[in-house]
Amino acid sequence: MINKFLGFEPDKDKLPSLTAKIGDDIDLSSHKYQKIWLGPNHPGVTGNMAVELWVQGNTVVKAKTHVGYLHRGFEKLIERRLFVQGFPTSIRMCVAEPDTNEYLIATCTEQLSGYDKAVPEMAKWLRMLSLEMARLQGLLRGVPGQGGTFALGLGVQWGVYLRDLILDRFEELTGARVYHMYIIPGGVRGLLPDGFKERMEDNLRDIDDFIIRIRKLMFHNSVFKKRAKGLARITPDMVDKYGIVGTNARGCGVKRDVRKDHPYLHYDQLDFDPPTDTDGDIYARTWVRWQELIQTVDLIRQIMAKMPEKGDIKAEMPNVLHWKIPKGETYVRLESGRGEYGMYYVTDGSAKPRRVNLRGPSYTHAIALLEDMLVGADVADVHAIMVSLQTCPPEIER
């Protein structure tokens, strides 16, 4: 009320429309607009990308996403590599949740070569464990990270610490901190080390405590609410129009979760229900992610309880040096922390794939959706909106 009175919330009906269409030229020489760049060297940009903003005062009137700063040509490189050599390369396609890439490339090759039935039971459970741990570490960064976009750095500090603990568990299990290179075509690369479950349980208890703390810090925070509520709203009708997936879709009530829709591994044996919210704004998305944090902790506990004690970790497969896969194509998807994450894989009967194409959720979220969503937003909110859409540039440009 007072805002309106003081003129801080302009009556938008009285102003000319700000929603510039993509491709419309904004005449910078009119001195009405200014162009600023958010990134690539900017602390407020996710990863190494850039958003070119045309602003009128504090309001964005047009935005363009620029990617390619992290472009390495993965899809080209994997075309040059044997099937087994693909997975160390593929894992680097997305730093935030690397295991998903490994799983996709392994499953694609298994499916096309007919070895998907041969993957041992133990390996399947371990795959699930590593995928859920990856989701957990992603959320531990992501949930407080949303607070961090509004300069609530405390949650980030706690969250990244706990993420480090999960990375320690990853290190024990897989032999590496970030790029685990654990899921290999045919199976996984190691059993649980001794005492892993106990140490994991310790960490999960810490995370339980953190979940409560972060709720008090962020979701019962008047300033956070003031900034996050009503900001960057996604409506259900936008979901199909823009190809929105994952928590971004669930935040506005569209329940899409690959783990439920197309159960892979043993997700059908786990008891969970993907959380949803109805508002579709940043607060709702963060809230959904927070609930997912609880759920992921629970899923890890379920997996550790249900997983067999011992077993084979890799199927018997042909010699990796000259493993050939007959001609075929497939699309495999999974639910990453950011939503549906898929891979289109084509083989031509040789020892190397013909084409690998990754479908990252950020591809649509960070370009088509973000550019449209930023129009009319405040410059101060740009970073928050990017993070709330879980923009991850490496999976866009690959």
């Binding site: 290190e171 032999g175 590496a176 080390p193 008090k216 609410k225 010699n319 000259h322």
Partner: protein
């Protein structure tokens, strides 16, 4: 905005009294036991096979020679050098390492100002992390990048084969051969060990690609007797096969046989493109149609020479035909290889004994060069008491007689002295004959060497036992007991060692531990000698002698008489593949001698 929303965030301050969770000394923190840190290599176990280089997707690994490591059979003398400007620590190199020598320690700190320093040979260049035990090793269990188990070769059941000379090894089917070929890691270590230096990885690859014609071409590059070699080669290559360090070595011999078997002999000429051969007008005589002679003939005829072979016996093949029983090497397979060589235009004179029917000197005059691949056809005797008895036989004689279809004396109890492959051959042949005759077997094979050191192939011993022959090694024969002119048996004592410290043959026996093998017939099979009676004295005096009573030849098997080349068993000991290699090389030598560079 409720008051709760203003006050609850302050609960975060309760953390201020807690001790920080920071790692106090992060610079000396140990990584997890399984952490993939920097490389270490056990250079004594490593054989430099280069599989790590092959799997490395970043081309981070080079194979470089290392001081103090010799190149020898089964060890290339190279060691992996890793470029940390390329490595991504995926540890695929560790997982695939054929000897399990490569590993990653859990060290992870390497800071340097010079980017050129980040290359090192693990295990050789001094690094402080080698003493760490923790680190990444190949995961267990059942985590392999290639099959460790050999594809089982189908063979006749002992009951089926024990009384017949039908070939006992069935050969691989297409699926089996491809599965077996799939295990190869293409390191090529075996090529050096193979006396003929066959392109083993290449023809195995041809099997994988299902391009058997290409496979045959590769075989004939270095070996004109693939059917024969595919059955009876001593497969030294398999002893150094890198896969053998962790699992069963590849069945290289059976794969070779598979290629040869699958190509029909009618197509050979077309596949090998030998329909029309150029002639250069020069003539070469070859004495003996054994592996060395046939191999020399083959390559000489390809080089354009007119080749004539003089064979003492009535059929070609030499020791391959007359020394090896039919169940191991069926005669039609010998004919397949021999006929192909003959079809190239090689003339062969059967039943011509050089030295008797025609002199060597005459050959030297009639032909531009002579190659003698005469082989070892004289049996050696133990010279113990009683060996002059008429029922003490030489194995080589008996085998020839069996081949020629002559009736031989087969009593109920037989003892074979000798632990080599020939001994096993005669043992098993006699066992079959006994079976045919009496329906039961009582052959005892004994040798000086103990079970572990027996020179015979392991599977030969096992198969002999399957056929109910008794193999009882580790005994030194003392004397043959003869009562009333009839052999009663063989007295033996336990043999402790064969060689003294200097490596000379000097058996030591434990005279206390005695044994007696009953026998009606004794077969000696302790080695063969060469028959050089075909060389007349005037020629012989021009020939220099080398060690162990053999003639001295140069690298191209040329004797001191320039037109006379010698090769095969007489020069390099009893072995088909050596004979083939000798023949091939002598052919090149003859070519060099006659045509020049």
């Amino acid at each position: 905005m409720s008051l709760k929303d203003i006050l609850t965030p302050f609960t975060a301050w309760s953390k201020v009294v807690k001790e920080p969770v920071t790692i106090k000394d992060p610079l000396n923190r140990e990584a997890a036991p399984r952490y993939r840190g920097f490389h270490d290599n056990d250079i004594d176990t490593c054989i430099g096979c280069g599989t790590c280089e092959a799997i490395c997707e970043n081309e981070a690994i080079d194979l470089v020679p290392v001081d103090g490591i010799e190149t020898k059979d089964g060890d290339s003398g190279l060691r992996p050098k890793i470029d940390y400007g390329r490595c991504c620590w995926c540890a695929l190199c560790v997982d695939i390492c054929t000897t399990n020598s490569l590993r990653l320690t859990n060290a992870y700190k390497w800071v340097d100002t010079d980017p050129d320093n980040f290359r090192f040979v693990p295990g050789v260049d001094e690094k402080d992390w080698y003493k760490r035990e923790e680190g990444w090793r190949k995961p267990e269990p059942n985590y392999e990048f290639y099959g460790l188990k050999r594809v089982e070769m189908g063979e006749l059941h002992p009951e089926e084969r024990e009384d017949s000379f039908v070939e006992m090894i069935k050969g691989y089917s297409k699926e089996q051969a491809e599965a077996e070929a799939d295990r190869c890691v293409e390191c090529g270590i075996c090529t050096a060990t193979c006396p003929a230096h066959m392109g083993i990885p290449e023809y195995i690859k041809a099997i994988r690609n299902d391009d058997l014609e290409e496979g045959l071409r590769i075989l004939y590059d270095t070996n004109p007797l693939p059917e024969i070699c595919g059955r009876i080669c001593t497969h030294k290559c398999e002893t150094v096969c890198t896969i053998g360090h962790k699992g069963d070595p590849l069945s290289i011999r059976w794969l070779k046989r598979y290629i040869a078997d699958q190509n029909p002999s009618e197509k050979y000429k077309k596949i090998l493109e030998t329909d029309i051969l150029k002639k250069n007008g020069k003539k070469v005589a070859i004495i003996g149609s054994g592996p060395a002679g046939l191999s020399a003939a083959h390559y000489l005829v390809l080089l354009g020479y007119e080749v004539e072979i003089f064979e003492k016996l009535e059929k070609a093949g030499g020791m391959m035909r007359y020394g090896i029983p039919e169940y191991r090497l069926p005669y039609d397979q010998i004919d397949k290889d021999v006929n192909y060589i003959l079809s190239l235009g090689v003339k062969i004179h059967y039943n011509v004994t050089v030295g008797k029917d025609i002199t060597l000197k005459k050959l030297g005059e009639d032909f531009d060069a002579v190659f003698a691949g005469t082989g070892l056809h004289l049996g050696r005797s133990t010279r113990i008491e009683g060996t002059d008895h008429e029922n003490v036989y030489q194995s080589i004689e008996l085998l020839r007689k069996i081949t020629q279809g002559e009736e031989i004396y087969v009593p109920e109890k037989i003892v074979v002295i000798g632990g080599g492959n020939v001994a096993m051959d005669i043992t098993r042949s006699l066992a079959r004959l006994q079976n045919q005759k009496y329906g039961k077997v009582q052959v005892i094979a004994t040798s000086l060497e103990t079970e572990e050191k027996m020179p015979a192939d392991r599977e030969e011993v096992i198969e002999a036992r399957e056929e109910k022959a008794i193999v009882n090694p580790g005994w030194s024969p003392q004397r043959i007991e003869i009562v009333d002119g009839k052999i009663k048996g063989l007295h033996v004592v336990q043999c402790l060692s064969l060689f003294d410290e200097t490596g000379n043959f000097n058996p030591q026996c434990n005279m206390e531990n005695k044994n007696f093998f009953e026998a009606d017939m004794i077969v000696e099979s302790i080695g063969q000698g060469m028959d050089v009676s075909y060389i007349s004295e005037d020629i012989k005096e021009h020939l220099e002698l080398g060690p162990r009573g053999r003639f001295r030849v140069n690298d191209y098997f040329q004797t001191s008489l320039p037109w006379l080349f010698m090769g095969g068993d007489t020069i390099q000991g009893p072995d088909v593949i050596h004979g083939i290699a000798n023949g091939h090389k002598a052919a090149l030598g003859i070519d060099k001698f006659l045509i020049g560079e």
